[in-house]
């Protein structure tokens, strides 16, 4: 088959026009897709005066599923008195979780052993008391929970950073740290005791 040169030229022009249009249109589409009319977390918004798209909860409202009826779980208190037990069973997983969260949120000031000489303290923050004084050892677990939730003295609260369940896990881990400094020899497995005695010499 021979090509009719006129026809061929016209087709070429049409093809070129089509391709140009396709490129231009897809260009537009892509631009729209890059920035879609939706907001993502932390995006600013011109609609509200404070410039954020995320809205704070209205005063005196409760979101579905966020009603806090369990007094012990959410306040660490029963009838206004601090409880000295976790509101759920303490397992090894809970303690490990507590250790991880303690190292993230508390060790900057209290250090990993709870002596109160963390890095931020070394940089000039007020030094917290060590966890290993008789007063601290006598404190109820509910008190640790309360300190994390509401702060204490100059210590800031961690309510926004740590979910409720993790606060309990941390409270349990603080108690573990306290035990760790006063463990009696009888708690050490028989085979290991001799080693400890030798190390202490």
């Amino acid at each position: 088959m021979r090509l009719n040169p006129d026809n061929f030229g016209a087709r070429l022009v049409r093809l070129a026009a089509f391709m140009a249009a396709a490129v231009l249109l897809s260009g537009c589409d892509l631009q729209d897709m890059y920035r879609q009319p939706k907001t993502e977390p932390y995006m600013s918004s011109p609609v509200f005066a404070d410039g954020t798209s995320a809205r704070p909860l209205e005063a005196d409202t409760v979101a579905r599923g966020h009603l806090r009826t369990n007094e012990v779980f959410y306040t660490g208190k029963l009838n206004g008195k601090e409880v000295d037990a976790l509101p759920f069973p303490v397992t090894k997983a809970v303690l490990l979780r507590g250790q991880g969260r303690f190292d993230i949120f508390c060790s900057p000031c209290h250090d990993r052993a709870g002596n109160g000489n963390g890095m931020i303290v070394q940089r000039g923050y007020r030094r917290p008391p060590p966890y290993h004084t008789p007063q601290m050892r006598a404190m109820a677990l509910g008190h640790f929970f309360d300190v994390i939730s509401n702060g204490f003295g100059v210590m800031p609260d961690y309510a926004a950073q740590i979910p409720v369940e993790d606060r309990w896990a941390i409270a349990a881990y603080v108690r573990t740290l306290q035990f760790s400094q006063y463990a009696p020899l009888a708690d050490v497995p028989a085979g290991e005791r001799q080693k400890l005695k030798e190390a202490a010499k």
Binding site: M33, E40, G51, T52, M119, G124, P156, Q161
Partner: protein
Amino acid sequence: MAQLFHPSANAIAKVTIFGGAFIVAGLVWAAAELYRSPYVTRAGDPISQPVPFSHKHHVSDDGIDCRYCHTSVENSSFAGLPPTKTCMNCHSILWLDSPMLEPVRKSFQTGEPIHWTRVNYVPQFVFFNHSIHVNKGVGCTTCHGPVGEMPLTWQAETLHMRWCLGCHEHPEKFVRPVGEVFNPDWKPPADQLDRGRKLVEQNHIQKLNDCYTCHR
């Protein structure tokens, strides 16, 4: 009729035509390189911020964990940015009079958030999720570079599709033990490939390169 063109013109014409093709190819290549270059992707450029926040000081010098500030990175698609209250945990006492921290104090008093400038972003037609990466052993520094050394944060990688796919097709080259994900100083060991393969098996890491993984 006299010849209009000397026979040597053929050679010149050929050179011009082929040369043209090379020039076009060269231009396309240059454009592609430019598209991937830091100049266009902003990778490597420290971004100026309303407060000169330094990861170098807070992460490397003071040893604060990423999750102290980026609290949602383990369980949501977004890593999250710290609210002003988080800064005030320490700066209500430390550096209280520093003029550098004036915007932080002002934000805390008025309740108006600090307007951080975004450093990393992918277009909105791309679905990205932090938690899956973090929980399967892809470390922060694999994607964000040496954050602990940044006095001002910069984007470390192009974040182009080919970069994502480079890892999705060969995760064994990049993954680390899950416990090391937040360690800003982690470096791949010499036998990364062997260890990586074991981790891929152990953590059931799949090769996700279907389009709908990221475009949904």
